[in-house]
Amino acid sequence: MIALATSWGQVPSLLAPALGQTGAMVGITMAIVVALGGPLGVLIVNTSPRGLIPHPAVNASISWVSNLGRSLPFLVLMATIIPFTQLVVGTTIGIKAAIIPMAIAGIPFFARLVENALREIPRERLDVGLAAGASRLQVILTIQLVEGLPGIVAGFALNLIAMIEYSAIAGAIGAGGLGYLAINDGYEQFNTQVMVGCIVLLVLLVQVIQFSGDRIVRSLIH
């Protein structure tokens, strides 16, 4: 196959819409991940023996489900749940279809990250709230999440980067975005300019997220 002659000047016009698609996929997915994975993480840590509402059975079952969601490689997970994706969004290709497996992979991942962030808070700090007459929910909102925020933000950055990676894999089912562009226009069609453009943009994206994440975490720790 003869390489399509894309000049360097044309690369940005190809990258821009792809970046937008990646942003949409990852953004919507992260919204779902935080909305569901966050509470799940709070639940896991608080149903554990040292939590605010110890409940071994609930804890074990949530942990099990959460581990299940993280045990499959993303590509395998995506293929496995195709019928489910079809059921929920009515299609198995495109951005909508990519969001379902990405969210399913991201929710338990984020839950674990939140759990880790909250587990490190000394129990005594939670007791401070209880001893002052706070309800358990108040303790979670005013103490646990406040103290755990730096760890949660660090986890968010980690999760965001993982989702960008997954969005590239999801490009394989025609989801669009930078990964799709790199594989279809860059790799398959020997279009070096597009390939390099995608790689540079992805590297930059990840670096910027990690850098900003670290900065925010530092500003949150006192």
Partner: protein
């Protein structure tokens, strides 16, 4: 002020607290001592109802807290301020916000909130550190912030769980004088859990010794130290180790101030009365309560009869027992066995 009756806590078939009776009056500092594993921490968590007792009652101002349902219990807990062992400050809140934390769970107007936080920070001498974060404060400063936070809801009872553990002597002294001023000026009833006997001696009015979940000794500190020769009494006022063995013909005597009116010149008085030389080998004498408490080891050279020696000391309010030598002087060992390694 706080009345604990028959407090029992079991985990499965393990009984951690076994029928604890304890009452602390307004304006009293009651120390609770005991080795690690004696149940001190569990007792603390039961008193502020972070743990539900298996049986027994805890009453503050006549209201039994254990009979309350969850929502009422939460409100009732506010009658007992807690100072946590390692201060337990929230790392992401300033000193002032840490002190204000308990106010977030009650309905207090903003203006009063600020006023109260200011007043308490001032009381613990930390007003100039109001906007500092815990990581910028020393251990002693953190502990004072923790104390201010424990007081912000103006509780009639303060529960202090090892508030001086890990603090240097000067910081410990300032923390203790704060506790004493709370007792004297605000009439707070303080339950002070500690393993430091110096702390008990310098600030507590009463002491209870916890062992295997039971209170084995209980009384006013001065009475416990003076009135008995119990392990707790020896731990509270230990005699420093005696150096060399007794000389030829000499005999060691272990003396304990038994009354609060021991004459200050007892040593010369007895020396003259018995016409013997008396060597002081070790001792600790200090003011306690309304009088003086002391433990002294002396060596008496001349062969005076035991009865005469005993009677001479007894007449001056001192209990005397012949000691068989320095190797039988393991007060420091008894102390460590009694109070354990500290943090529970």
């Amino acid at each position: 002020m706080i009345e604990i009756r028959g407090l029992t806590k079991r985990y499965g078939d393990q009984t951690v607290l076994d029928g604890i009776d304890l009452s602390v009056a307004a304006g009293e500092i009651a120390a609770i001592v005991g080795p690690s594993g004696a149940g001190k921490s569990t007792l603390a968590r039961c008193i502020n109802l972070l743990e539900r007792p298996t049986a027994g009652s805890i009453s503050v101002r006549g209201q039994d807290l254990t009979s309350l349902r969850e929502a009422d219990l939460r409100r009732a807990r506010r009658a007992i301020g807690t100072v946590f062992q390692s201060a337990g400050l929230l790392s992401r809140l300033t000193a002032a916000d840490n002190v204000a934390l308990p106010l977030r769970y009650v309905d207090v107007p903003d203006s009063e909130r600020h006023e109260r936080v200011r007043r308490l920070l001032d009381r613990v001498g930390m007003l100039h550190r109001a906007s500092y974060y815990p990581s910028q404060l020393s251990g002693g400063q953190q502990q004072r912030i923790g104390l201010a936070r424990g007081l912000v809801l103006e509780p009639p009872v303060l529960l202090a769980d090892e508030p001086t553990s890990g603090l240097d002597p000067a910081t410990t002294a300032s923390m203790l004088s704060l506790l004493a001023s709370l007792r004297d000026e605000l009439g707070v009833a303080v339950v002070l859990i500690t393993h430091e006997m110096d702390v008990v001696r310098s600030v507590a009015d009463t002491v209870a010794q916890l062992d295997h979940g039971r209170i084995v000794t209980r009384g006013r500190v001065a009475d416990v130290v003076r009135g008995s020769d119990s392990p707790l009494s020896r731990a509270l006022l230990p005699t420093p180790p005696v150096g060399a063995t007794a000389g030829e013909g000499g005999r060691l005597w272990r003396l304990r101030y038994d009354r609060d009116d021991v004459p200050a010149t007892w040593l010369s008085q007895i020396s003259r009365e018995l016409d013997v030389d008396i060597a002081v080998r070790s001792g600790l004498i200090e003011a306690l309560g309304d009088g003086t408490a002391g433990r002294v080891v002396v060596e008496i050279e001349s062969p005076v009869s035991e009865e005469r020696i005993r009677a001479a000391f007894f007449a001056r309010g001192i209990a005397a027992e012949p000691g068989d030598g320095p190797q039988q002087e393991p007060d420091h060992l008894q102390t460590s066995a009694l109070v354990g390694a500290g943090a529970s």
